[in-house]
């Protein structure tokens, strides 16, 4: 093993890590309890996997069957991260459904209102000059009239965005 830059590049061959094992030939390994525990851990860890029957008897199954103990929204988010998958359609697909009449625009407005009714009290603008923005209309427009860009991995702060929205920084 050579040493460079002060960093050791150790071998991960375990016989050199633990000197007592060098002389034994038979594997010592984990004891019964540990062995059973490892098996148990693997089994439980694997419960998120989708069930896959052989093709000749395909049985429909919920791919997120392993997450049914969680609320739907949470489960979808977890699965999204684990499987790198989408949990909902693209915005453009929903917009198409709306054009086909399958989604009622009035209901979109209702749902946006419900969201704001819950969200606004917790994020109050704390100014009472009545010159606020029509958030409901903005969000409905976002859903129904904007296409969907891809998101970068730099998450700019609200302040940073604010600064760009209003280049002249004379307003409070």
């Amino acid at each position: 093993m050579t040493r460079t830059n002060g960093e050791a590049a150790p071998s991960i061959n375990p016989t050199t890590l633990d000197t007592t094992q060098r002389t034994t030939v038979t594997p010592t390994g984990p004891d019964l309890g540990r062995t059973l525990k490892i098996r148990s851990m693997v089994t439980v860890a694997g419960e998120f996997l989708p069930f896959m029957w052989p093709m000749r008897n395909f049985i429909h199954h919920n791919p997120l069957n392993g997450f049914e103990h969680l609320p739907f929204e949470e489960a979808v988010e977890l699965a999204t991260r684990l499987f790198h998958a989408r949990g909902y359609l693209r915005r453009t697909d929903y917009q198409a459904l709306m054009r086909e009449g399958r989604i009622d625009p009035d209901i979109i407005e209702d749902l946006v209102s419900e969201f704001l009714k819950d969200w606004v009290p917790r994020h109050d603008a704390s100014e009472d000059d009545g010159e606020g923005l029509d958030l409901g209309r903005i969000l409905v427009t976002l859903m129904t009239r904007m296409d969907q860009p891809s998101v970068g991995n730099a998450y700019p702060s609200t302040e940073a965005i604010l600064a760009r929205l209003r280049p002249s920084a004379d307003q409070p």
């Binding site: 059973l36 525990k37 148990s40």
Partner: protein, 109 residues
């Protein structure tokens, strides 16, 4: 004539959902438990609410109890093996001291 021997052992009673039965049984086999008995159609109540005893068209959602008698030294490993499982799934294990009687052939026969 055969005689009944009496041995001190530990009894484990493991209550789980029907769906999980296979896992528990497999674990007991691997641990070297001699055998086990399974009781079906249990009903009961716990932190997750009420469980009905028998569902006509569902074997997975009902409760079962797996009973086994093992020598004392197996109890630790078995419980260790079950720990990750019970961290996520509902159920319980009761451990008790028992005497097990079995028929044994007397050496003079």
């Amino acid at each position: 004539m055969n005689a009944l021997s009496v041995t001190a052992m530990k009894k484990l009673e493991i209550i789980v959902e029907g769906e999980q039965r296979g896992f528990v049984v497999d674990l007991l086999d691997r641990a070297g438990a001699g055998g086990y008995t399974i009781l079906h159609n249990l009903s009961g109540k716990g932190t997750h609410g009420v469980h009905q005893g028998h569902l006509m068209f569902n074997d997975d959602s009902v409760l079962v109890m797996i009973v086994t008698a093992v020598p004392e030294e197996l109890v630790g490993p078995i419980l260790e093996g079950l720990t990750p499982f019970f961290n996520k799934h509902m159920g319980v294990v009761f451990t008790s001291d028992i005497q097990v009687s079995r028929m044994v052939k007397m050496p003079t026969d």
